[in-house]
C-alpha cells in the first residue's frame, strides 16, 4: 500500500467514527472563491493559501481548510442542529520550511447547535480525543472568550477597547497597544507635534485618493480625544497580564480565573462558561483534572476561533504540527451568514501524522 492510500484508509476510518458519533458526511469544493476568504483573513491567507485564477471566475483559492466552505454550506441550506464530518486534502503554502507538507489530509467533525454551547464544546473535544485513543499525545486547551471579555471590561474608552480587541490575535501588537494606553510608552513625537498644532489639517499637499480629508480629520479628532483619555490603571494592566499568564490544569485555571474576576467582574460570565465546559467535559469522561489550560493558547492561530480552543500534540516533537486542532467560531458564522448566525464548534485530525507516528513506533 502506498503512503497516500494508507493515509486515505486511516482518514476513512476516522470519518466512519465521526459518522457513528452522529455526523453527516459532506463534500466541499477544492477551489473556493478567493474573495470571501480574503475578506475574512486579509493578506495573511495569501501567505498561507495557493491562489490561482481564470478569466471567467477570477481569483480562486485551493482550500486551506474546510471550516469556511462547511459553514457556507450550512448557512445556505442546513437544518438545525447539525453535525458534519468530512475528509479530504487541504493545501498550504510553505515558503519558509520545505519540510512542512503543502498538501495533506484533514478529517473533521463540526457541530452547529444553539442549545448548550458547553455541551457542544465537550462533545467535539471528546469525540476527537476518542478518535485519537491509543496514541500518546499531549492535549492543550484555551478560551479566546475570556481575554475578549476582559478587554471589553477594561475601564477605558470604547475606541481603545476596540483597538485591543482587534489585535487579540497579534500578541506583540496587543502588548504594544496596552503599553501605550497604560501610559507605559511615549506617544510618537510626530503625533504629539501634530496634536500641538493649532490647525492640524493644514498641509501643503493636494487632496488625492479615496480616503477623504473628512476621514483624516475624523482620525485626528480621535487621536486628540485619545490623548486626553486617562491611562488604563496599573491594576487593570496587571490583571490582563496575570490572565494571559495562566497556565494550569483546568480546575486550577478555573480557580485563577475566578480569582481575577473579583477585580475584573467583566470576566465573570466567561468564568461560568469555563466551569460549565469543565463539567460537560467531565460528564463525557474526559480527565479534566489533568487537562492543561493556557489562557494565551490560540492567539496566534487562524483568527476565527473566538471561544474554546484545543489542540493535540506529540510530546517531545515540537517539529511536528499538531495532530488535531479545533475550537469555537461563533463570529465566523455571523460574518458568513449575512445576518444569520449559529453557534458552531469543530475540530480536525491530520491522519497523515498518525500514520507516520504508527510507522515510527
Amino acid at each position: 500500500m502506498t503512503q497516500k492510500s494508507k493515509i486515505r484508509a486511516r482518514a476513512a476510518a476516522l470519518a466512519a467514527g465521526f459518522e457513528a458519533a452522529g455526523a453527516v458526511p459532506v463534500e466541499t469544493p477544492v477551489l473556493l472563491p478567493a474573495e470571501a476568504l480574503l475578506d475574512l483573513y486579509g493578506e495573511d491567507i495569501r501567505g498561507r493559501a495557493y491562489v490561482t485564477s481564470d478569466a471567467l471566475r477570477g481569483e480562486q483559492m485551493l482550500r486551506p481548510d474546510f471550516t469556511v466552505p462547511v459553514v457556507q454550506m450550512h448557512m445556505a441550506h442546513g437544518a438545525e442542529p447539525a453535525r458534519y464530518t468530512y475528509a479530504g486534502e487541504v493545501f498550504r503554502r510553505q515558503e519558509d520550511d520545505a519540510a512542512r507538507a503543502n498538501e495533506y489530509m484533514q478529517v473533521g467533525y463540526e457541530v452547529f447547535d444553539r442549545e448548550n454551547p458547553a455541551a457542544s464544546d465537550a462533545e467535539v473535544f471528546a469525540v476527537i480525543e476518542r478518535a485519537l485513543k491509543g496514541v500518546e499525545l499531549r492535549a492543550a486547551t484555551g478560551d479566546m472568550g475570556i481575554l475578549a471579555a476582559a478587554v471589553a471590561g477594561l475601564d477605558t474608552t470604547e475606541a481603545r477597547k476596540a483597538a485591543l480587541a482587534r489585535h487579540i490575535w497579534r500578541p506583540r501588537k496587543f502588548k504594544a497597544l496596552l503599553d501605550r494606553f497604560a501610559g507605559r510608552s511615549e506617544m510618537p513625537a510626530r503625533r504629539a507635534a501634530l496634536l500641538a498644532q493649532e490647525d492640524p489639517m493644514t498641509h501643503g499637499f493636494p487632496d488625492i485618493g479615496l480616503r477623504s480629508q473628512a476621514e483624516v480629520a475624523a482620525r485626528v479628532a480621535a487621536l486628540s480625544e485619545d490623548s486626553e483619555a486617562a491611562p488604563i490603571s496599573p491594576l487593570q494592566v496587571e490583571l490582563i497580564e496575570a490572565l494571559l499568564n495562566i497556565r494550569e490544569t483546568l480546575p486550577n485555571a478555573l480557580e485563577q480565573v475566578r480569582d481575577l474576576a473579583v477585580d475584573l467582574p467583566a470576566i465573570t460570565e466567561a468564568a461560568f462558561r469555563l466551569r460549565d465546559r469543565i463539567d460537560a467535559l467531565a460528564a463525557r469522561g474526559v480527565d479534566v483534572e489533568n487537562l492543561e489550560f493556557e489562557a494565551s493558547y490560540g492567539r496566534t492561530s487562524m483568527e476565527y476561533y473566538d471561544g474554546f480552543v484545543f489542540g493535540f500534540y506529540v510530546p517531545g516533537r515540537a517539529d511536528l504540527p499538531p495532530v488535531a486542532t479545533g475550537g469555537r467560531y461563533d463570529a465566523l458564522t455571523q460574518v458568513l451568514g449575512q445576518g444569520r448566525e449559529i453557534p458552531a464548534v469543530g475540530g480536525v485530525i491530520r491522519p497523515g501524522i498518525l500514520v507516520d507516528l504508527e510507522e515510527a513506533a
Binding site: L38, D39, G42, E43, D44, R46, G47, E95, D96, A98, A163, R166, H167, R170, R172, K173, A176, P188, R190, R191, L194, P200, M201, H203, G204, F205, P206, D207, I208, G209, L210, R211, Q213, E215, V216, A218, R219, V220, A222, L223
Partner: protein, 232 residues
C-alpha cells in the same frame, strides 16, 4: 564546461555592472547588433556572459542555470523563499541603491507611522467596506513586514509599474515600492512612513548554491573569484 554569469541585459544596471567587472580586469561586453542579447567575456577563460532581465536572475540562480548573477537584493528576497539556502551574497557592487518603503498621500496628516497606518486601515475598512489597498510588486516582502509590525485590515493590489500613480487613480490608498531619491514619490504627492523602511537594496553579485560543478568549472570559478578579489 563554462561558468555562466548572469547580468542585467540593459540600461544603467548593465553598464555599471560592466564597469565593476572591468575595473577588476574582467571585460564584459555585448556583441552583435544592439538588439541581440549576446555577450563576450575577456580577461578570464571559461566564463560565459548571459544577458537576462534583472527580475529573472534570482530564478535562474535558484534553478542552477547560471553560476553567478548580478541583481538587486530586493528581487532575490522577494522571489526566493529561504533565499540564503539558494544563493550566496558574494559582493555588494556599490550601485543600484534603492530602499523598499511604504508611502501614503501627503494629505494624510494623521498617518506617519505603521501604527497610524494600521489604525487608519481599520477606520477605512469600516467606512468603505473593503480593506485598505496597498499597491506593490513586492508582495512577499511587504506582507511579511506588515504582519511582523502588526498592521491588519489592508490588502495588497498588484502593480508592476507606475505604482505611485495608483493613488490618484483611486486603485490604491498606499504604495510599497523602491525609491532611490524619493523624487517620484514627491512628484506624486506622497510621503514615506517614518518607520517603514522594509529593505535597503543594491546591485549585488550572487553565487548559486544549486549548481553542480565539475573540477574544471571549479577551477574557473576559483580563478574568477581571485581576479574579482572575492577569494577569501
Amino acid at each position: 564546461m563554462t561558468i555562466k554569469l548572469g547580468v542585467p541585459s540593459k540600461g544603467r544596471l548593465m553598464e555599471k555592472t560592466f564597469d565593476w567587472f572591468g575595473a577588476r580586469g574582467v571585460q564584459l561586453s555585448r556583441t552583435g547588433s544592439d538588439r541581440e542579447y549576446a555577450g563576450a567575456v575577456e580577461g578570464v577563460e571559461g566564463v560565459e556572459l548571459v544577458l537576462l532581465s534583472a527580475g529573472e536572475i534570482p530564478r535562474e540562480l535558484a534553478a542552477g542555470r547560471i553560476h553567478l548573477g548580478v541583481t538587486g537584493t530586493d528581487l532575490v528576497r522577494e522571489k526566493l523563499g529561504q533565499w540564503e539556502q539558494q544563493v550566496q551574497e558574494m559582493a555588494e557592487l556599490g550601485f543600484g541603491h534603492a530602499d523598499l518603503i511604504i508611502a501614503v498621500p501627503g494629505c494624510w496628516v494623521d498617518v506617519n507611522t505603521l501604527e497610524d497606518l494600521d489604525a487608519a486601515a481599520a477606520a477605512f475598512r469600516a467606512t468603505h467596506g473593503f480593506r485598505m489597498r496597498i499597491a506593490t510588486k513586492y508582495h512577499r516582502l511587504i506582507r511579511e513586514f506588515l504582519r511582523d509590525n502588526g498592521v491588519a485590515d489592508y490588502q495588497l493590489v498588484d502593480s508592476q509599474g507606475a505604482t505611485e500613480g495608483t493613488i490618484k487613480n483611486m486603485t490604491a490608498e498606499g504604495v510599497a515600492d523602491i525609491t532611490s531619491t524619493g523624487d517620484t514619490l514627491r512628484a506624486n504627492h506622497l510621503k514615506i512612513l517614518d518607520d517603514a523602511l522594509v529593505l535597503k537594496s543594491q546591485a549585488t553579485l550572487f553565487r548559486s548554491r544549486k549548481t553542480a560543478m565539475d573540477d574544471e568549472e571549479r577551477k574557473v570559478m576559483a580563478g574568477l573569484l581571485v581576479k574579482l578579489g572575492l577569494d577569501d
